[in-house]
Subunit: 282 residues, 2 copies
């Protein structure tokens, strides 16, 4: 059992961890660290956390398990302070949606002060954000990727795996850069594409957006997500994203070649191949 769980950042993910950990009695005490008191107040009021503070040093005191749950760019900026004030025997992990830069920054800090840490990413995003959208069942059945490196001791990965599994998650592990390529493909590229679709259709003559039906709405739902959060995700993973975008452009060219050449048989075969792949994802 965790004696004192410190959650830094109480948005959708941090808030959901607080609620889930409380509901499952995963920690004796839960402390939330946030930038603004008005964000922390509802968490205190709801009983999801026992203490709340805007002072990072205070929040980390005596914590044996530290979860960093701010947006990615903020997280990188906070790391030196986290490393300075974390107890020497604390386990540190995070929910950042890109891992390469972040884990490398943690490794640099660990050379000075060897804390037990492993990068993590619960793939339970939503177009919603903030503590108001947090749910104790957010991680139920969701994949959580942990990103140990050669330097990560096995017991650390095991402890953090156990943490997420007890919150309902299904844990997979892979190296940080492999994680970043995976999320570039299944998360960041679809997001970019959804945004480009909205931008395209909104810019056309004849107000076609007024005729958007379910297909368009589903395909672009994630474009309604928080702009600040996604700015940081795109910027923190731009190399993997550019590479994946290149592959996507080639796929678009291939689709266009098939319909423009009016090769009905080849076009149908390709659409059917895609249909089967997508249907298997249910």
């Amino acid at each position: 059992m965790i004696q004192r769980l410190a959650i830094v950042g109480l948005g959708l993910l941090g808030g959901s961890v607080a609620k889930a950990a409380r509901a499952r009695a995963l920690a004796k005490e839960i402390v939330a660290v946030g930038r603004r008191r008005e964000v922390l107040a509802p968490a205190l009021d709801s009983g999801a956390v026992d203490h709340a503070t805007t002072d990072l040093a205070e929040g980390l005191r005596a914590a044996d398990f530290i979860l960093l749950a701010t947006p990615v760019a903020t997280m990188e900026a906070l790391l030196p302070t986290v490393w300075k004030f974390a107890e020497a025997d604390a386990i540190v992990t995070d929910v950042g949606s890109t891992k390469g830069h972040l884990v490398r920054a943690m490794e640099r800090l660990a050379r000075e002060k060897p804390l037990a840490f492993v990068g993590g990413h619960p793939m339970a995003g939503s177009e919603q954000s903030g503590f108001g959208a947090a749910r104790e069942d957010l991680f139920q059945g969701m994949t959580v990727i942990l990103t140990p490196t050669e330097a990560t001791q096995e017991w650390i990965t095991k402890r953090v795996t156990d943490f997420w599994e007890r919150l309902g998650g299904r844990v997979a592990t892979m190296p940080p850069d492999a994680h970043d390529r995976v999320v570039a493909a299944v998360s960041h590229l679809p997001h970019l594409v959804a945004c480009a679709l909205v931008a395209t259709v909104a810019g056309l003559d004849g107000s076609p957006l007024a005729y958007a039906a379910r297909g368009f709405k589903d395909t672009t739902r994630i474009a309604a997500s928080d702009a600040r959060l996604w700015r940081e995700i795109f910027l923190s993973n731009r190399e993997a994203l550019s590479e994946t975008l290149g592959a996507f452009r080639r796929a678009l060219d291939e689709m266009e070649r098939l319909f423009a050449s009016a090769r009905a048989d080849l076009l149908e075969a390709e659409l059917d191949r895609i249909r089967r792949i997508r249907a298997d994802l249910q």
Copy 2:
């Protein structure tokens, strides 16, 4: 009241019209025309239609309202036969998802035999298909676009508008080519993009598809649609689709320029502009 409603093609749309028209007592008799008896049998058994036949000439006999609800390419091939056997006072309309080619073909036929017709498109698609997926409430609140031309007499548009409104639809009218540009933007482009996303991610190393979460699934849901149907849609609207795809490529380039140049402020402003447009679509 319609005396005899003939529905040619009993898939998702034709089947849903049958069920909705029956539920709302819109026609005294409903006749279904299909290619295969095993598709027609469940419609007869369910009471949604009174007669079913694989013989188009027989199905159109004495019908005063004819709805063509086959896939687009089949429809164009059927038109000469429809024109030959339709009663002289019948109203003809359709549910084809592209309109330019089809309406021009109808206009050519009408020069020989002046039937009352207007093109139509209920924007109530689904990744499901077939009579089994048909629902009497499919058109509730859905937009139906009618595409009268300068040659269309007003009473015809009014009669067909009335038909769809009684099935729950909200009718808009525009010229056939304007319709095709609208659906290229809000329907065919998202479909092509969803397919290209699946093809891209399925083709990458490291099996990223295994990590697809809700965002990817929503964005690509329509890629699980019937391949034959979409082959025909893409082919029948390839000019408007190519044009829209060009605009989409420019939007992708612009998004990439914003994240690759790491201009965080401009990127966030653009993501937020897009977020607001999308959020307004709810």
